[in-house]
């Protein structure tokens, strides 16, 4: 009996890593896929990093709402990023604004809320009247997307010519951003590559 129990225990222990991981990933995947997709522009990337894989490295170019009513006065942990279509005249344009963490009423109106801000700096108006955009750093800012090593040079060349065409489709779950696809002109980059292979030349 003990031997049989031991056998079952060993079998469970050996299956736990694979089955447990698949279950956790499946659960997480389902939860993420239920969320709506949001497109955010990106800027600046380095498509090659062989040690860590062929990842495209980028930063999100947050589309800030023109007038930001809230600033993080008590620290970044007290703020959230609210993604919404703030401008009624542009119902398809997603913009970002800050909301106070405790302001659940305002957060409830957002299409998506991103938490875990680790750093926030207010717009800088000191330098010759030019207003720079506020900057935020998140605990888990998505900053890399896998690309095939054959695609890297094309993307690199294309980006130099058309830096404003790039964006990413993301889903936001539990306040965290999950990257879904790299887009060029709003379409998956591979489609653009197939349709316009000579664009980067």
């Amino acid at each position: 009996m003990t031997s049989k129990r031991n056998s079952i225990l060993i079998l469970l222990i050996l299956l736990l890593p694979t089955c447990g991981l698949l279950a956790a990933a499946g659960y997480s995947y389902q939860a993420i896929q239920k969320q709506p997709s949001v497109v955010l522009p990106i800027t600046g990337y380095d498509p090659r990093d062989l040690i860590r894989g062929h990842y495209l490295l980028f930063q999100i170019n947050w589309p800030w709402r023109a007038k930001d009513p809230v600033t993080c006065t008590t620290g970044p942990a007290d703020c959230r990023l609210c993604l919404n279509t703030f401008d009624a005249t542009q119902p398809n344009v997603i913009q970002v604004a800050l909301v106070a963490a405790q302001d659940t009423a305002q957060s409830g109106q957002c299409q998506a809320v991103i938490g875990s801000i680790t750093h926030y700096s207010a717009p800088d108006t000191r330098t010759s009247g030019t207003v720079t955009a506020p900057t935020v750093l998140l605990k888990n800012t998505p900053g890399r997307f896998y690309v095939d090593e054959h695609d890297g040079p094309w993307l690199d060349a294309y980006f130099r010519k058309h830096p404003d065409d790039f964006s990413v489709a993301v889903k936001i779950h539990n306040g965290t951003i999950h990257l879904q696809e790299l887009l060029i002109d709003g379409r998956p980059y591979r489609i653009t590559m197939l349709q316009k292979p000579a664009l980067a030349d």
């Binding site: 225990l9 060993i10 050996l14 299956l15 694979t18 062989l50 062929h54 054959h150 591979r190």
Partner: protein, 395 residues
């Protein structure tokens, strides 16, 4: 005194002929459990692993062309297949064999690579800290329940400490140093205790007498390298990131001070490690008669092997291991030669990734290197003689 030295003595005293010495060595080296036997298999394993990584690199260079379901299916099947093989071996009573232990570690690593694959395909990425914590949770029952060898528990303990440090320092973002210090204390306490408890249950007194010092040295070395390496990276990345992208130092003042403190600590500790290492891992101690010296050397060699991943250490690393390998050749110590080749080969493999900038080229180079390692294993006596002839070191 080692059997190799005894044989030389006996040959010089005309008690044995050169042919008899060779025959004895050949017989002893091929006994399962013999050191030379294990090291030769270790080197064979390295050669085969290099070829396997080369093949993987070639597959990776065409990664997007492979359907996602196929990638996941193959990886999951491999994981389950290894689990099935381990269960089969366990039922046959082979759980104490080194092969079982090796496959246990391989299985643990495969779980991590499966996590990376799932994250890439299903876009379920999360924080590195959370990913490592999940990995730790998934493999800990397997490692603790089925592990029999010291190295397994050493690796598990290092992982435990690293995961703990990462999670604590992450929660206390401005207090990275605090998190690392906690991890250091844990490592100091946990490792020797755990190793003692797990490995030497039947003979506590003997363990304490023979191994405590060596294990403590391993613990100290590991403690210094991993937390400080992590600390250094985190501090540097965080500070640089804030300066470059957020263009402000306002809220990162503490982190800057923390980073500077960490840097100084790191430098001091590195100097101490180096001083300690040069003192203990010298050609003299490599061939010392004391059993304890050998254990101390082994502990340090393990640390240096781990350090091989640091790019800034490349030159010293290569020179050091070339020297160690040559000393091994001079003394006809196949164990040391094999260790040196293993270390050099492992480091060169990393160079391929750094230099070639192409997975396809890396893959081809690695396959050729693997074949080279296998050839060196096969032809050890010949190239040993050739090298010693060139350096006029034939005794």
């Amino acid at each position: 005194m080692s059997m190799s030295k005894k044989l030389v003595e006996w040959q010089q005293a005309n008690l044995l002929t050169a042919q008899q010495v060779d025959a004895i060595r050949h017989y002893e080296d091929n006994q399962p459990g013999a050191t030379a036997f294990l090291w030769r298999y270790g080197l064979l394993g390295l050669g085969l692993l290099t070829i396997a990584i080369g093949l993987v690199a070639i597959v990776a260079s065409n990664w997007n062309g492979i359907p996602a379901a196929l990638k996941l299916g193959v990886h999951v099947t491999l994981n389950l297949g290894i689990a099935g093989l381990m269960y089969h071996w366990w039922q046959q009573g082979r759980a104490a064999e080194w092969r079982f232990e090796a496959i246990l570690i391989v299985k643990s690593v495969l779980v991590l690579t499966l996590m990376a694959l799932i994250g890439q395909i299903m876009h379920t990425q999360s924080l590195l800290e959370d990913t490592l914590l999940l990995w730790w949770g998934l493999i800990t029952p397997m490692l603790v329940w089925l592990g029999r060898y010291r190295i397994t528990y050493l690796l598990w303990t290092i992982l435990t400490i690293t995961v703990t440090c990462m999670n604590i320092s992450y929660d206390y973002q401005s207090l990275y140093l605090f998190g690392v210090l906690i991890g250091m204390v844990q490592l100091y306490t946990l490792l020797p205790l755990f190793a003692t408890w797990r490995i030497n249950k039947p003979s506590w007194a003997e363990w304490g007498r023979k191994n405590a010092l060596a294990i403590s040295i391993v613990a100290v070395n590991m403690m210094l390298i991993f937390p400080f390496g992590y600390l250094h990276d985190v501090m540097y990345d965080t500070t640089a990131y804030r300066y470059l992208h957020a263009r402000t130092a306002q809220s990162s003042t503490f982190q800057l001070y923390g980073w500077e403190i960490a840097l100084v600590c790191n430098a001091v500790m590195t100097i101490l490690i180096m001083a300690f290492r040069f003192k203990t891992v010298s050609p003299v101690t490599l061939f010392a008669k004391s059993d304890m010296a050998v254990r101390i050397v082994s502990a340090n060699l393990l640390v240096i092997l781990i350090l091989c991943v640091l790019p800034e250490w490349f030159g010293w690393f290569m020179l050091y291991w070339l020297a160690v390998g040559y000393t091994g050749l001079r003394h006809d110590n196949r164990r040391v030669v094999s260790l040196a080749i293993t270390a050099l080969a492992a480091r060169i493999i990393i160079v391929y990734f750094e230099l070639t900038q192409s997975l396809m080229t890396t893959g081809i180079l690695m396959i050729l290197s693997g074949i080279g390692v296998l050839y060196m294993v096969k032809t050890y006596p010949r190239w040993r003689t050739a090298i010693l002839s060139v350096t006029k070191g034939v005794r």
